[in-house]
């Protein structure tokens, strides 16, 4: 019976993983700007989901649950890296761009790799809010629940993040020689 139980459950998990892999990988790329890191995040997410599979399998939206894990893993990783880094990029201060200018800056994007490069320059929490709100298209309340903050914080962080993103796109360009695609995958293809 143990074998029978394991087989059915394993097949359901495999079906879930096959369905979720693409969306999670894209979210990972948007969160980290790096395909290798995204793959690691998806793998760690699958490990964590598997540990709780008896509960996740009964959920209405297991992929949403997995995405929540992935976002939190990405934030944890970013926190760890920022603690380890000697020189932190200057994230402080309020962005100066008004919404109208920010919208124009986003409209002007013709190189999506440049957009991802700019996204990767944002503080992790602002990036997470933008990814959840505008890529995953989650309502403010759900973003707040995922990140463990208030709806007001989500709104203000989204506004600040959008303005900062536009500011980076307007004022900065990726340094010469720096990859502008989500970093090369491990097999060397973008």
């Amino acid at each position: 019976m143990q074998r029978v139980t394991g087989t059915a459950s394993k097949r359901r998990f495999e079906a879930f993983a096959a369905d979720a892999a693409d969306a999670l990988f894209r979210t990972g790329c948007l969160m980290t700007g790096d395909a290798g890191e995204a793959e690691d995040l998806v793998q760690e997410t699958f490990i964590q989901v598997a540990r709780r599979w008896h509960r996740v399998a009964a959920m209405d939206h297991p992929v949403a649950y997995a995405r929540r894990i992935l976002i939190n893993l990405a934030l944890d990783g970013a926190r760890r890296r920022s603690r380890q880094r000697a020189e932190l990029e200057p994230h402080g201060g309020q962005p100066e761009l008004a919404d109208e200018s920010a919208a124009r800056a986003l409209q002007a994007i013709d190189d999506l790799a440049e957009f991802r490069w700019a996204l990767a320059r944002l503080p992790p929490r602002e990036r997470a809010v933008l990814v959840l709100r505008y890529w995953a298209d989650l309502p403010v309340a759900e973003v707040a629940a995922t990140l463990g903050c208030s709806a007001g914080t989500v709104k203000s962080t989204a506004s600040r993040g959008a303005a900062r993103l536009a500011q980076i796109l307007t004022k900065n360009q990726p340094p010469a020689g720096q990859p502008t695609t989500p970093a090369s995958s491990r097999e060397g293809t973008p």
């Binding site: 019976m1 143990q2 029978v4 097949r11 989901v49 598997a50």
Partner: protein, 243 residues
């Protein structure tokens, strides 16, 4: 407050950007080939109710009948959710964790997952639960509704083993399979012995019936039999589902 125009631009650029990201085939293979060992039981729930934990994972139903095919409508009535199943003569309703049914449910878990005490009553394992019946000759019937799932073309019924044969159960689709299991393994032999269970092979038939669960989802009624013909088993299920 962020304007609608800016929000729309953000949605648009995120959508375009995400579309342009493709997971490399080798990365996809690496991710999906790994065995993640998905857990099938909730350790807390398993404390004291192994059967319920198995129910949550959608495990099949072993049924040890008294011998040979029996009339499917001569015994007691077993109610599972809104369904009523008339069991073969000689059976009495019993707890899944009491002998002889526990041979199938307790031994399916490692001993470490089944401590001697557990707040079972405070943690109902599943909305429909598991029902059991036993016969004086050592037979057992365990009935369970598996958790809802969304069928896909690739996997229309993730509960049923791939080798199961499609059957018709009244107006529902089903799948049937004959299985042979070792009722206890090395990890829980001591526990099995405590319950008077002798390790050994046992053959039984499992029947999975796909029932609509609302919202495009399905859920399986899982039922099985030992020493009961496929047709008798299907008849029990079909009669119960049409009642």
């Amino acid at each position: 407050m962020i304007t609608d125009e800016l929000e729309n631009e953000l949605r648009s650029v995120f959508a375009r950007s995400a579309e342009s990201i493709a997971i490399p085939q080798q990365a996809r293979r690496r991710l999906l080939q790994r065995d993640y060992h998905p857990k099938t039981v909730n350790r807390r729930l398993a404390a004291g109710l192994a059967a319920a934990a198995i129910a949550a994972a959608g495990i099949a139903v072993p049924l040890t009948a008294g011998g040979g095919s029996q009339p499917a409508t001569a015994g007691p009535v077993m109610r599972l959710a809104s369904y009523t199943f008339r069991l073969p003569a000689g059976y009495k309703l019993a707890a899944a964790t009491s002998p002889p049914c526990h041979a199938f449910v307790v031994t399916a878990l490692p001993a470490s997952l089944v401590p001697p005490h557990g707040p079972v009553a405070q943690n109902p394992p599943h909305d429909a639960g598991m029902k059991a019946a036993a016969s004086a000759s050592g037979g057992c019937i365990l009935a369970v509704l598996a958790p809802p799932y969304t069928p896909t073309t690739a996997m229309p019924d993730p509960e049923a083993p791939a080798a199961a044969h499609p059957v018709r159960v009244g107006r529902y689709h089903g799948a049937i399979i004959h299985s042979r299991i070792f009722v206890t393994d090395i990890r829980n032999r001591r526990q099995a012995a405590r319950h008077g269970i002798t390790p050994g092979w046992s053959s039984f038939t499992q029947l999975y019936v796909q029932l609509p669960a609302g919202g495009g989802k399905m859920r399986d009624l899982v039922i099985g039999a030992k020493q009961l013909s496929d047709s008798a088993l299907i008849q029990i299920a079909a009669n119960g589902l049409s009642s």
